[in-house]
Structures are given as C-alpha cells and as structure tokens.
Symmetry: C2
Subunit: 111 residues, 2 copies
DNA sequence: TTATTTTATCGTATAAATGCGATAAACGAT
DNA sequence: ATCGTTTATCGCATTTATACGATAAAATAA
C-alpha cells in the first residue's frame, strides 16, 4: 500500500506535475520573484528577506534547481542563482497546449 | 519544530502556490484533461480510465474541487464534474503577471 | 596558518500527501 | 421495502515534504 504511481502516467503529465510541484510553495514563489526582479541573487540575500532559516532556504533552492527552474554557479564563498527562463516557457507552452486550446472548444460548463 | 509557515507570505503567493499544488500530481492533471475533453464527466468514467482505485480518484476529485479548479453537482446516484475555467484564467493571469512581465525586463541570465 | 564568512548537507521531528480497503450514504430500480 | 449501483468518507500504512539546529565544506581575510 501507499505506492506512488506517478510512473503510470504520461511523460507530459509527469513533467507538468513536476514543474507545478516546484512552485507549489509560497517560499519558492517568493524566491523566484526575488530572482526575477534582481536577475541574479546570492543565497544570503534571500535568507535575509524570507522568514526562514538558512538551511530551509537552501533546501528550497535545491528543490528549484533540481526541478530545473533555476541555475546556480559558485562565486567564491557565495552561490549565485538566477532563473532559467526556458523552463518557464516550456511550462507555459505545455500548460496552454493542454488547457488553453481545450477551453475554446468547450466554452460552456455543465455544472 | 516543523511548523508550516505559509501564512508568512503574501496572499498572491499563497494562491499561486495553492493552484500549483492542486495540479502537482499526474493523476490530477489526467483528470483535468479528461474533464476538458469531455466538458463533463461522472466519477465512474474517470475511475475506469485511471490506474487508481475509486477511493483514490474520489480523493483527487475532492482536492481539485477544494482548490476551486472543478465544480461538481449531484445527478442522482452519480456526481457530475466539470472544469472551472475561471480558476485557470486567474492562474494564468497571476502567473504571467508575476513572471511574464519580469522576463522582458531581464532577458539575460547571469549563470 | 588560522579565523571568518558563506553555503550545503546531515540528522531529526513533525506535518502533509498518497493509496487502498472497508464502509456509509444517496438514489434508482425492482 | 429491498436490492443494486454509484460516490464519499473513514481508518490505516507508507511515503514525502517542511523546518530547524548542528555541522561540514570551501573560499576569503587576517
């Protein structure tokens, strides 16, 4: 019991779900917003802004990086992060190709 | 410890995260796809298509309904579900207003 | 070399999600 | 009224996520 059956679904569905999961937390959205505004950012600045500990912020950054939404490079004792806009474009395309087109076909709702 | 600090973030961030969380599972994306294609659907049809038990599908439907992505109405012994397109529009607007506009300002990435 | 600074990782505790069987609830059919 | 069908909910087990302190790792500064 309690086996996760993600692999039983299509790759597109898994990819969309993975992206959504990456942004499915206010802290990670806040981090992305900071990165988008500043175009680049070191971990310490994010820690200073968010109401979370350094280790927790680092975990969220790792989650975003693992999902491919951001990229990071080491800069001396610091780590510089910035948004991977390609991932956002891909998500937008996939999301709209799934639901945007379908919406036009079926305008009315039954309930 | 291990207190979830969602309330420490802005309402917009929480709403975006909540929507993302609702679609952060392949099964729920598959359900939404079915609903979008058929424009309406009863629970049993979804159970017949997905590789999940009836109770699990019902839970996913409840999650989507609680998040406001779908609406349901009782139809005799059945339950009819369909997509709430307004929620999708809102998500698209919020998502693009957060990241779409910012992208144009900062085209280049540092790392 | 020895601190200091900055970030990542480990360990741990708690909360939430996932999945299913069993059962209840609601309605139609007989 | 009874039975069958359909869906929702409960209970439980397992997995995953969240959060933090403590510590390790890496580079700079002294």
């Amino acid at each position: 019991m309690a086996i996760h059956k993600k692999e039983a679904f299509s790759k597109k569905e898994q990819e969309l779900a993975a992206f959504a999961k990456a942004i499915a937390h206010p802290a990670r959205i806040a981090i992305l917003k900071i990165l988008a505004l500043r175009n680049e950012c070191i971990c310490g600045e994010i820690v200073g802004v968010l109401p979370l500990s350094q280790s927790t912020v680092s975990q969220h950054l790792k989650a975003l990086k693992d999902a491919g939404l951001i990229s990071g490079s080491v800069d001396g004792p610091r780590s510089c992060y910035c948004i991977n806009w390609k991932a956002f474009d891909k998500f937008n395309n996939d999301f709209c190709s799934l639901f945007g087109k379908l919406k036009k076909q079926n305008a009315k709702a039954c309930c």
